[in-house]
Symmetry: D3
Subunit: 134 residues, 6 copies
């Protein structure tokens, strides 16, 4: 078992809000993150793939392919977007760092060979990050 | 002459747009940054103050005071805000990294003793930054 | 299972010494770290909490609460302190990075809901770090 | 169970190539990394040792000894070398990041007490890294 | 006067050697960097452009254009290359970090409007960097 | 004119205090940094040397020599020390980051050829740094 990680990033606006809660409860619970006009982040994303080495190539997985997959499936979908308004994934889902990490894992899981396991690490700021592996 | 720098940060949404230009020109020139629903960044800010050492304290300037000044004047003003919608500074000014750095310099310049010179370094992403010293 | 990590830091002085050993053995074993007048570090701390997502909020745990907990329980206890002289935790315990990580885990473990698991990562310098999860 | 990690680095040239493949297949598969005149990297290496704390010293393992071991066994072997031409390890093994991590693990595993487990993390660039723990 | 900086990188092999010196003098002076089989680095490059703000766009210079220029003129020229063997710039010039920075400055200076001043910062390792502004 | 920078670091304990002030004034002015039992930091040091390139070697200055000079003159003097108690430089001088930077500049200035100019950048924490160039 060996794992390889590719780092990537995207910049996006978002707002944390639960439409089932009152305005007051949302403000109190989510604080500044509830700002109705949105705020934003530079999201740093680590995608880790684990499995058995391919002895012929000396690669676990082709990093250029992994990098292209992240670009097509994640960066082009979320970069320079308003997560709440511009993406179908967060139309009805609160774009917390936890939910973004889970959504990214779900998107990539379908595109990466089942023989590999997959882990997502998402930095929302340089001081907060989330890890999810299914 | 000695200088001290304090690092700080804020997270905000913004949109680049020149209202005097056509929709098409804005889209072409500003690209993804023109997204009408906004995107966002973790802005990292370095505030550098230069001058002569105060020999009695061994300080150029009290870093706690500088840090508090940045918190009150910059972080509380811009953190978790939509720069275009929530701040008076960018109601009629395009919030490019250059303009944000200039605005921050203008705000802090009035609050820092004239005997000191002042420089702002603003990172919009980990790969782009702007420097301004008046 | 998802995990979230909050980064934090504190600055402290310490001295490595085992009172049961001779002066010579302490000097030889701990080297410069045995300096009787102390030396110090900027400790960087990662606190990782793992468990099940709260679907209603989209949070695993409220990061502001976690951050406040770290501030009250760890930063205010150890920041700008001499670990050997100023803290009860290291009066009779050698403040190696390993022991500091274990003490921090023990302190936080009592304050964090049992449904979560907890992991501590402590950087003593930018080149050395310790991980402990109970 | 506690773990300690020591960071280290070495600079080296390498070329990715499988001598059993045709020139064309190597070029297509390995791309720029197949350049016959080599290219190079600053490799950053994290060596993680895990086990039970030695209560007497408060150390898991003496970091100075671990650091010296890495210096002798890894840095002096690979630093400022052409991995393909100057090292016996990669004379007949493709020096992918994966294979370098495995080789480093194999070298250190023989030198570190069996009571400890060992993990290698190797950064080939600031955006790609490999992890291996046997 | 305001300045903007764009970060970029390339990976390359090189060898330090002065053909006018004896083999012994080269070995003694350049040490490990004189290895005849080359070694390599991840070079991190900061390109800083200074001048007057364009008030209409709020930009000093279009960062996408600057980024594309660096990609075409610098990355495609030096990335995954052996500087001594694969580039005309270092066929007869010792590829020290100082000389690489000067060459990059000379290349970009011709492509960037004379109204701007230009500064290059080149990291050869995370502990060594060179600055050149003509 | 070109400049090269070498990064280095040392870990030390210190206490900020002005013996001419009352206990109360010291406590109020220096806050936690006045702790009579000391606290500490990982100091990161950038030494920048500027001048004219030596065309024969392609070096401004031999980085190994500069690195050795920093090791002998700065690291061995301050690393793992209590700046107030263990060093003659701070017996009667308040070890603020500003004063440490000035002392380091004074020490290195005498050891570096006058044809070069010299600049010191000292990080006391990852959020505060001081620059001094004489």
């Amino acid at each position: 078992m060996i794992s390889v990680t590719r780092k990537s990033h995207f910049n996006a606006a978002h707002r944390l809000n639960n439409p089932k809660w009152s305005v007051e409860k949302n403000r109190e619970f989510f604080g500044l993150c509830n700002n109705e006009n949105y705020h934003g982040h530079n999201y740093d994303l680590d995608v880790t793939v684990s499995g058995e080495l391919d002895e012929e190539s000396g690669y676990l997985i082709d990093m250029k392919e992994l990098s292209t997959l992240i670009e097509i499936e994640i960066e082009s979908r979320f970069d320079h977007k308003n997560l709440n308004l511009d993406t179908k994934e967060f139309k009805n889902l609160n774009p917390t760092a936890e939910n973004i990490a889970i959504i990214i894992w779900n998107i990539l899981r379908k595109k990466i060979d089942e023989k590999f396991s997959l882990k997502i690490c998402l930095y929302e700021t340089s001081r907060n990050f989330v890890e999810y592996s299914g």
